[in-house]
Symmetry: C2
Subunit: 207 residues, 2 copies
Amino acid sequence: MSSQNSSPSTEKNAKAPSRSRGLKRVSALLDGASAVFAEAGYEAATMTQIAARAGASIGSLYQFFPTKEHVAAALHGRHLDALAGMLDSLAGEVRGQPVEAAVDALFARFVAYLEENPAFLAVGERRSLDPAVKKEARARLRGRIAALLVAVEPPIAEARVASLAAVTLHLIRVAALLRADDDEGVRAPAIAELRTMLKRHLAGQGG
Amino acid sequence: MSSQNSSPSTEKNAKAPSRSRGLKRVSALLDGASAVFAEAGYEAATMTQIAARAGASIGSLYQFFPTKEHVAAALHGRHLDALAGMLDSLAGEVRGQPVEAAVDALFARFVAYLEENPAFLAVGERRSLDPAVKKEARARLRGRIAALLVAVEPPIAEARVASLAAVTLHLIRVAALLRADDDEGVRAPAIAELRTMLKRHLAGQGG
DNA sequence: TACAAACATGAGGAAATCCTCATATAAAGG
DNA sequence: CCTTTATATGAGGATTTCCTCATGTTTGTA
């Protein structure tokens, strides 16, 4: 269940690329969309801007993405895939380590990813995003975080993993939302505080 | 320095009402804008919707607010005035009380205000808001919170008040950002945790 | 090479939105 | 009552944006 399935509710003629040229073009279009969404936000971004930024014509854009919503959905799915992969590899790296080290690594990677990919917040936290999609996305990330929490030593108690994974994702999201537009002097200490808070919350939850 | 001074940078012919009828109309227009911004968000809200919601013609709206940005700025200022007044009266109520009680009251009032006035987040946290305005708004609220912190017993040390007021506002903003669109099951405990965190942070900071 | 299907292109239709303006009405002062 | 100024109104111009479509080009394949 990857990105190609997270399409908007109203399915128009969303054609998937089959030739290699089409695959490259779709990738370039998503790169262009990523840049434009990051700079202007979802609402202010225009299809013409996205096509131009990708070096494509407006017609090419509409060939693969019949709607701006489709573009955002595809980009969102692509980011979720990347984040899920990142969490998977992280789970391997922190296996057997104390939970504090895992939290540090988790925060560092997540915050870095969002710094480098501001478009993810632009499409993932916008008002117009379908709540069902939002919910599913969070569930997916929660699952990966839960896997990470049972890999540490001592592992988090099985019965508490789901709830603690939710709290963890929650705090990371908060840090991410602060990231967006805050005074430089406040942001870093705030993120550090949230990280500390999470450690305190997870410490002593071993099973 | 109240709301009438927080106008957008490009000053067009922003006429202020002088007669009582005009004052009422401006108030109604801001009420309409508040409803529309809360439901649709700033970007998706249209001037026609705002005028209709206020029971006014589109021409009347443009008579007082030459731009949608002007509407948002005026509404933002109005909310800031209300919040400042709320904090002032709260400072009186918690005078002489322990800091924990003050924090509880502060969170309760602030969260309640934002629940009842979702338009404030819609105009105050949007991308297109001028950073200078945002900064000034936060400075204003920080000042009121600082006044509140020196009113408790024992009072917060003078030298630390500014920094602690910043942390306080910060955590309240985090709680507010969670408020917007989160799963009901996670929101309330998260806010409670943030409140606890703030108490722990402020405890023992007396002068 | 020749054919079919995928892909590319940009002018322009349709619709939405911002905002203006000429005209009309209400209110305040003399 | 009459003048002046503030306020009210909504049709419509100007612009922007989404999206379509007819036509042309490239790619894979037999």
